[in-house]
């Protein structure tokens, strides 16, 4: 029931997204005007697809990271994965600019994986009685890597790239410049196959061992999936914070942590919320745009607060 409503909302948002923008485009024009079709095909369509993939994949990644770290307040974009990806891309741009794009992505993903693994090691040393330390340490850790990225970029005169990677927005998405995101979509979809495994490691190491799970292997698979999605997102549209934090919390509050049932919902909600933010960002100061991250911060926080304070339903 909720699922159906969510999917319908997403479809409506997608249609809206196709007809919102600087160039006037009415649904009727599609039938008569070839230029209109072209606009949809090369710009509005790709942008909509990119937003949907990004929102969905980041929300799924956030869920996986929260299960791995066993903490509700972390997400890849603020806890070192996103910054690691940016660092990787920067290093690749500096040292091996002639590599094919997929190789570059692989290297960036590797760096993101490394920084996330280090984060996990740090978290495992924190006292379990102090859950709020985890996000704080994550913020500091991500901040340090981010500062390193900035420093290197400044030295190498690459600050304009950094701006693109660090501040996510979709106005630059055009046909031919977003297709890498399809890999992120594929990886996020594949991670659904391990939904039960992720749910079990979310119950802790003891529960995992008892149920015969190879704990370390699942953690590695999860980190890999997070790193790929994050690196591809950072490269194509830039860092978008909060999606991986807010959406999984909303969904788990409403529907719990049985990921086999909830991950699809998480993906659709993430896509819908980010797309709504993107559309609002396009309209609010029309014809200028507000970056999707800022709008999402406000929108996501509002939804989350409403959930926190809305009367609790007992399912």
């Amino acid at each position: 029931m909720i699922c159906l409503a969510l999917v319908l909302t997403l479809v409506l948002l997608c249609i809206t997204s196709l007809f919102v923008g600087v160039a006037d485009l009415s649904p009727a024009a599609i039938l008569s005007d070839p230029a209109a079709l072209d606009l949809i095909w090369t710009s509005r369509g790709p942008r909509t697809v990119a937003v949907v993939i990004t929102g969905g994949a980041l929300a799924v990644s956030g869920t996986i990271m929260q299960m791995i770290v066993r903490n509700r307040f972390v997400e890849p974009m603020t806890a070192g994965t996103g910054q690691g990806a940016a660092l990787g891309i920067l290093l690749v741009t500096l040292f091996t600019p002639s590599l094919p794009i997929l190789m570059k992505m692989a290297l960036a993903t590797t760096v993101a994986l490394a920084t996330s693994t280090v984060f996990l090691f740090i978290v495992n040393r924190l006292p379990p009685t102090q859950p709020m330390l985890v996000p704080l340490v994550g913020l500091i850790y991500g901040g340090i890597i981010g500062a390193g990225v900035l420093f290197v970029a400044y030295q190498a005169d690459l600050l304009q790239y950094i701006d693109i990677w660090m501040n996510g927005e979709f106005s630059g998405v055009l046909q031919g410049r977003y297709e890498l995101l399809w890999i992120a979509a594929g990886v996020a979809a594949l991670s659904y196959l391990a939904a039960d495994q992720f749910a079990i490691i979310g119950m802790g190491r003891t529960a995992s061992v008892n149920l015969g799970l190879n704990y370390t292997q699942v953690v590695v698979v999860g980190l890999l999936s997070i790193s790929v999605v994050t690196a591809l997102t950072v490269v194509t549209v830039g860092m978008i914070p909060f999606v991986g934090l807010v959406v999984p919390n909303i969904v788990s509050r409403l529907s719990g942590d049985n990921l086999r049932a909830t991950l699809p919902m998480t993906a659709v909600s993430g896509a819908a919320l980010v797309l709504a933010s993107d559309i609002v960002g396009r309209l609010i100061r029309y014809p200028f745009e507000i970056a999707v991250g800022s709008v999402f911060g406000v929108l996501g926080a509002a939804v989350f607060l409403w959930l926190l304070y809305a009367p609790r339903r007992h399912a």
Binding site: L193, D196, T206, V209, L213
Partner: protein, 250 residues
Amino acid sequence: MIEISGVSYRIGGARILDGINLTLPKGGISALIGPNGAGKSTLLSLIARLMPHQTGTITVDNLVVGACPNNTFARKLAILPQASDAAPLLSVRELVGFGRYPYHKGRPSAEDHAKVERALATFGLTDLAARRLDTLSGGQRQRAQVAMTYAQDTDYILLDEPLNNLDIAASRSLMRVLRDLAASQGRTIVIVLHDINYAAAYADLIVAMKGGRIVATGTPDDIVTEAVVREVFETDPKIHRIDGKVIIEV
């Protein structure tokens, strides 16, 4: 049969377990008793490979703990740990369903669903099945955890203080279910109990631990005596025998 030989365990400089040699027979209920800090939970965790053991060997039937593939072991032995982590945001049915994971690996069959329903019914959880764990009382949650362990459907079941938070009806009913599993299906139950009356009433074998060692092993009649209780627990309760049953005064 669980065979433990020469198992010691240290944390830092502290000796938690000290040269444990113990054979627990296949089939029946074995109760572990002993004062707080005796090492009961540590021993159970080692048997269930929740932590790697340092010296000695442990075998469960023909499976060597630590060497046997994790998933094979999960279909041989299930453990209910003492301190369960914060309740996951799952419904009772979902939690119990995860007990079937070692068999279905994420794709539950009709048989898995049927076993989950049976586990729910066995522990009187059918009415609560759709409720989320964080909305339950402590005892109801404990019952759900026990039901999950039960659903794992293993020959060996290790329970660390499962009667925690349970009322007398739930406690008796759990012990009866366990006795029935042992008697009619030949399952082997190892259970940590603090209430010696329960151990005396339901166990086939009682193992008393103290200070990381095993100080006495035997039938309830042998173990639940004033002398042994005094030695193990350093307290002096009276023990009565009524109708051939041992009852310890509280």
